[in-house]
Amino acid sequence: MIIRRNTVEARHREAVRPTPFHTRTSAACLSNEWTTWAGYTVPNVYDDMTYEYFTVRNQVGVLDISPLSKYRVRGPEAEAFMNRLLTRDARKLSPGRVAYALWCNDDGHVIDDGTVFRLGEEDFRLCCQEHQLGWLSRSALGFDVEIEDETAALGALAFQGPTSCAVLRRAGCEGIETLRPFDTRDFDLQGIAVTVSRTGFTGDLGYELWVAAADAPVLWDRLFEAGALHDPRPVGLAALDLLRLEAGFIVTNTDYVSAELALRRNRGRTPFELGLERLVDFEKGHFTGRRALLEAQRQGPRRLIVALDIEHNKPAQDALVYLGGKKQVGHITTAAWSPTCKRNIALATLEAVTARRPNPDLRVEIYVKKELKWRRLMARAKIVDRRFFDPERRRTTPPADY
């Protein structure tokens, strides 16, 4: 007996896959500088990173965010399931609304954070950084819900910047200006069904568009046609990382380690330690991690994620942070020079006792290379509000025609 092959798919080819927008992004990616995001290729830089950054802060930028993990949760117990999953009260989220939320394991350590869309009474969508089908399925034991991984089926674009509303209106999203922050609505763009939410990861006025994978290229084309007068530009991931830092957003497994992946369990972080206690609601009934979080709240956080404003202009990526120049009290997880604020900014994880001191004498150890010679800077840093850049236009409804 000889067994014949019965499968044809070549799993090892294109282990990293194109997104639904790939035909468009590849045509626009002049630099050919790509990066891998959750198993997909997306442009890191299309042309010039600075240019792309200012596009979002000044006009409107288009970002392919299709690699985001996207899950659909449907069923009679969808609300109960989401309420048990999230640390926030899912019952308060009404259809047509989106919420930023996070979820923990039994130890109260954060697994991931993301946006939760309530698409209907018994219909939710969850978008996040890490793969969560495993956790969602395990959490679903005993709940009458159906969980579907929509990651490959849905294309997603972030459409961000002051003129984003104007362009979308021109593209046919009638009434888009009435969308308040964290609203979501379905639109028909000349036959293409698009879900548009006023959400984003740039801290600016902006929207995210969700579309069936097959319709993705056409949507891209429509947006650029409609934007002819406003000159939207594709924006790569490098610029996004700077934009999100200015907005003070944290990223799983960059600024904190997911509890599911922490080899040393004590490296897991509670929502309090991420500075996100506002997302924890102890009054809403039971949720995973609640008992541990009550205890954690009683004990107080051991570490805190804080925003730092650092002297000089050298980004302090991965630098160690010292108290009084001697005692190591933490490290920096994301850092950059902010072109809009003209500040040297960073997110850092510090010992909570230090972070809570009034005006601690923090020094950041930065290594600077000048003509192949390294110099060590002990730059002063102070703890500041995490929203480095927080323009009014982000919140105003209807947005002005910038």
Partner: protein, 539 residues
């Protein structure tokens, strides 16, 4: 030129014997290694049985070999090159397959093809297993404490163990207790739903042991195979260029560079005991070599039941040695090939063509294979771990030709039918395996130039492993840590002063790891108050 008196004589030129000898020689001791065969290597051996082809007859992959030992003994300087390889596939009777790619994204995709949940579960599984590896790994290059002793060093080691355990926290302490006592099948059931994924991963839980995947304790066996590393990448496998014999060749060179000697063709008839102390060895050819310290790389049964007189040992100790479970359960086929066999279930350009292949796709396949062993015969549909190292090692076969190595679980050391192994039974066993591989490879049989079939009996005859057990003793809890090989004698010393054990029968056990050899050398040097050349892990 041999002298008539040495500081230390090591019995057996396997990787543990040589590791031990190297450390002793580096401490300035005069060391002689005596080897029964005309060639060195023990079970880490490569020989040319067919002109142009290098047969790595016994052990076949290298990942457990401790990097500390490679570095301390400067093995790379003496010719050792460990080349990482990875991946593998389980070919299924339906024509489908499961490929474990080394590429993260390809592996995810393949897992998801079998079960979307399993793709996520794999990440959780990897983290959990790695947590266990982190706990166990520092214990490898340390002496296990005697829990009944009140000596400061034993108490210190117990405290070290206890503190490491306590530091895990409640959740991981409980997970560790479960991990050590669960079967690999139950362990994997906590993560995966796909049969083939589970069967693929379960292989590491049964290799070399006389247990099935449903037997409690096999989760630990999996860990034993995972705790290796290549270039700091935990759990990955490597190949030594030139076959596994290259490891013992490099060790021999390292030993000779430190002034040690190796004498081949010199089987030990018995260990010389004078006035209750080890005093040297008497070879089968009648020659006597004297030394104040004798270190045996042979397994515990062979050392005490065959190479020693019963009168020199306490009766209870001998009972314990007799009771030691050393069950042969593995066979091996080494096949010289005229070309590369095709496995059309996988793309010819897929990376997993370089990796290992298995043909058992459910836990039931594996457990039934074990049932056959329990019944005293070889598995009718065995677990095969098949590799073609010539695909990335150009030294082991002539250009265009290939060398296949197939490890087989299970085969018993003696057949219930009473048939001897060295006859038609061996041929029939080989045919079982060849037929299984040929089921998935249409051109395989036509390519066979020569096949060496090795039953556990053959392993015992050639390498001297009792019952052909590749680990010199089962890796069950009753024979691990302070229980290995015999409670009260787990610290490499034996009831006879001056006689030590350095083989896989001692802690931490089998695999081409070298840790028992290194740990034994540390204890010998301690007792001799000689300069210490073996560092303790975690210190």
């Amino acid at each position: 030129m041999t002298r008539d008196r040495y500081d230390a004589i090591v019995i057996g030129s396997g990787h543990n014997g040589l590791t031990n000898a190297c450390y002793l020689a580096r401490a300035g001791l005069s060391v002689l290694v005596v080897e029964r065969n005309d060639y060195i290597g023990g079970a880490a051996v490569s020989r040319e049985l067919q002109p142009g082809w290098t047969y790595t007859n016994c052990s076949y992959v290298c990942s457990l070999l401790r990097p500390e030992i490679i570095r301390d003994l400067e093995l790379s300087k003496y010719g050792l090159q460990v080349i990482p390889y990875g991946g593998g596939a389980t070919l299924m009777r339906s024509g489908d397959s499961f490929s474990a790619y080394t590429d993260h994204y390809a592996y995810r995709r393949e897992l998801a093809r079998h079960s979307a949940k399993d793709a996520d579960a794999y990440e959780r599984y990897s983290v959990d297993v790695m947590r266990q590896c982190r706990f166990i790994r520092p214990l490898l290059l340390r002496m296990p404490p005697d829990p009944t002793s009140f000596k400061p060093r034993d108490l210190g080691e117990l405290l070290f163990l206890g503190k490491r355990f306590w530091d895990l926290g409640e959740r991981d302490m409980c997970e560790t207790l479960r991990f050590w006592t669960l079967s690999i099948a139950d362990y994997l059931d906590q993560y995966f739903e796909s049969d083939v994924v589970k069967a693929h991963l379960a292989g590491s839980g049964i290799i070399g042991t006389a247990l099935g995947p449903y037997s409690p304790g096999t989760a630990y066996v999996l860990l034993h195979h995972y705790m290796g590393e290549v270039d700091g990448s935990a759990g990955s496998w490597g190949f030594s260029r030139g076959g596994m014999g290259a490891i013992t060749r490099a060790m021999t060179r390292s030993l000779e560079a430190s002034g040690g000697e190796v004498l081949t063709g010199s089987g030990v008839d018995r260990v010389l005991v004078e006035e209750g102390r080890a005093a040297g060895v008497v070879l089968a050819n009648g020659n006597v070599h004297r030394a104040r310290t004798v270190i045996s790389g042979m397994d515990v049964k062979r050392t005490f039941l065959e190479a020693m007189e019963a009168q020199d040992l306490p009766g209870e100790f001998l009972d314990q040695v007799r009771r030691f479970k050393i069950r042969g359960s593995s066979g091996k086929l080494n096949i010289a090939l005229d070309g590369l066999p095709e496995f059309p279930q996988i793309d010819s350009d897929s990376a997993v063509q370089y990796g290992e292949k298995h043909f058992t796709e459910t836990m039931e396949d594996l457990e039934r294979a074990y049932d056959d062993w329990k019944a005293g015969t070889w598995s009718r549909w065995p677990y095969v771990d098949m590799l073609i190292p010539s695909q990335f090692d150009p030294t082991v076969a002539p250009p265009g030709k290939h060398m296949m190595t197939a490890f087989i679980q299970y085969a018993p050391p003696t057949l219930k039918s009473g048939e001897p192994w060295d006859g038609p039974a061996r041929e029939a066993f080989g045919k079982t395996v060849i037929d299984q591989i040929a089921t998935f490879s249409p051109n395989f049989k036509d390519l066979i130039v020569h096949a060496e079939v090795r039953s556990p009996w053959d392993l015992e005859q050639e390498v001297g492993l009792t019952e052909g057990n590749i680990f010199q003793g089962e890796l069950t809890f009753d024979q691990l840590l302070f229980n290995r090989p015999v409670p009260g004698y787990a610290q490499y010393r034996t009831p006879v002063p001056g006689l030590y054990l350095c083989g896989s029968s001692a802690h931490p056990g089998g695999g081409v790891m070298g840790a028992p050899g290194a740990n034994a050398a540390r204890e010998v040097l301690r007792d001799l108050r000689a300069p210490q050349t073996v560092r303790e892990m975690g210190r």
